[in-house]
Symmetry: C2
Subunit: 202 residues, 2 copies
DNA sequence: TATTTTCTTTAGTGTTCACTATAAAAATCC
DNA sequence: GGATTTTTATAGTGAACACTAAAGAAAATA
């Protein structure tokens, strides 16, 4: 997303160069927000972890909520990449089973990053800027999910998407509350059984 | 829960009488916390809605988090009463189906009280006093659920309880994000299909 | 009536929150 | 080297947070 279309060689802008790497900062922010939440990670904790003073942070990212928006968009692209699971032509029952079981595993992989950063942030009050951002990202993924299912099951796509989305929220919550991987996988597999009944029914 | 066992006549203690009704205050607090969350409802908003000044609030309830603990315990007894659903001798498949469908309906009944107050509060950071209270209440209900299932399905009680608990968290989250009753019921019924497969399997 | 007890009101406490005005430092352009 | 541009550090903004010290007001008891 640079102004020039060539990728790497660094545009070497004019004034004083930035003293920190923005990608590293986003990674650090992701780790903090995922371990805690948008509200529990204050600006002081954030700038301390980044090794950056508040004015530099605001010059680079605008505000805490804009920084958070960038963090969750990055996270959505890296964690549980839908491209690798919703392969064209693949049977939805298979793909969704893998999605739910992968979610179960991913949500407890790192004990300090339990649950889904996006889904956890999507809860909370309606007005919050961080909640609005998170819901937009979550809904983009749900849209892709529905499109994938609609290719083979157009009539059940919405209901199945609702179920998968709701189940993933439940898995994320359970992971946050301390449920371990084997139990979480049990939940995911029971959900898959319901999913298959719904996909194949009638 | 009075000190005397007779119900109404008021013990008429010494000093100046309390200028407000504690039950009404708890109801109001429940409404506020359920519409928002523990963090979003500040003490100022709370005492304003109660028509009570902070010192009176602290004299009566001790602290915000103790007040909240009382609120969610009351809520757990009133909403989705397990006694009426987990009837002794009833088939778990039936009872759990009713529990999940009732949850779906309850979670969107009042558009300003969406989701489950306890389950929503149970999310959030581990250290929080409000989160600890909410998880204790949630786990008490899950214990009763497991005991009920274990009467007929002792080997699957834990897995089924995990699934029901996780599903209810998902339903609560979906309700909070704006899913309407019919969609939520669809999710609940798909979950019930998985539940039955898990209960009757092998 | 005087005393004791309990609650209420007034008016704050210090802490933390996200955020910023100002000016110095480090780079490029002329 | 001087001007320009951009990011830095210093130091602090007002607002909101949960909570409280001190004294006044309303009841029961002595």
């Amino acid at each position: 997303m640079n102004t020039k279309e060539n990728t790497e060689p660094a545009p070497r802008s004019r004034g004083r160069p930035r003293g920190f790497d923005m990608e590293t900062a986003l990674d650090t922010g992701q780790r903090l927000f995922h371990a805690g939440s948008y509200e529990t990670v204050g600006l002081a904790a954030l700038t301390d972890a980044l090794g950056v003073k508040p004015p530099s942070f605001y010059k680079a990212f605008g505000s805490k909520s804009e920084f958070f928006a960038q963090v969750i968009e990055r996270y959505a692209q890296s964690a549980l990449a839908l491209d690798e699971i919703l392969l064209p032509g693949r049977a939805p029952a298979d793909a969704l089973a893998e999605l739910l079981e992968s979610a179960a595993r991913t949500y407890v992989r790192d004990p300090e990053q339990r649950g889904c950063l996006v889904l956890e942030a999507a809860r909370g009050n309606d007005g919050d800027a961080s909640v609005i951002h998170a819901r937009r990202v979550a809904n983009q993924r749900r849209y892709r999910l529905r499109e994938f299912i609609a290719r083979t099951h157009p009539e059940r796509a919405s209901a199945v998407t609702d179920f998968v989305a709701s189940t993933m929220s439940g898995l994320s919550a359970s992971a946050r509350e301390g449920m371990d991987e084997s139990r979480l996988l049990g939940v995911a597999r029971t959900a898959v059984a319901g999913l298959k009944a719904r996909l194949d029914a009638d």
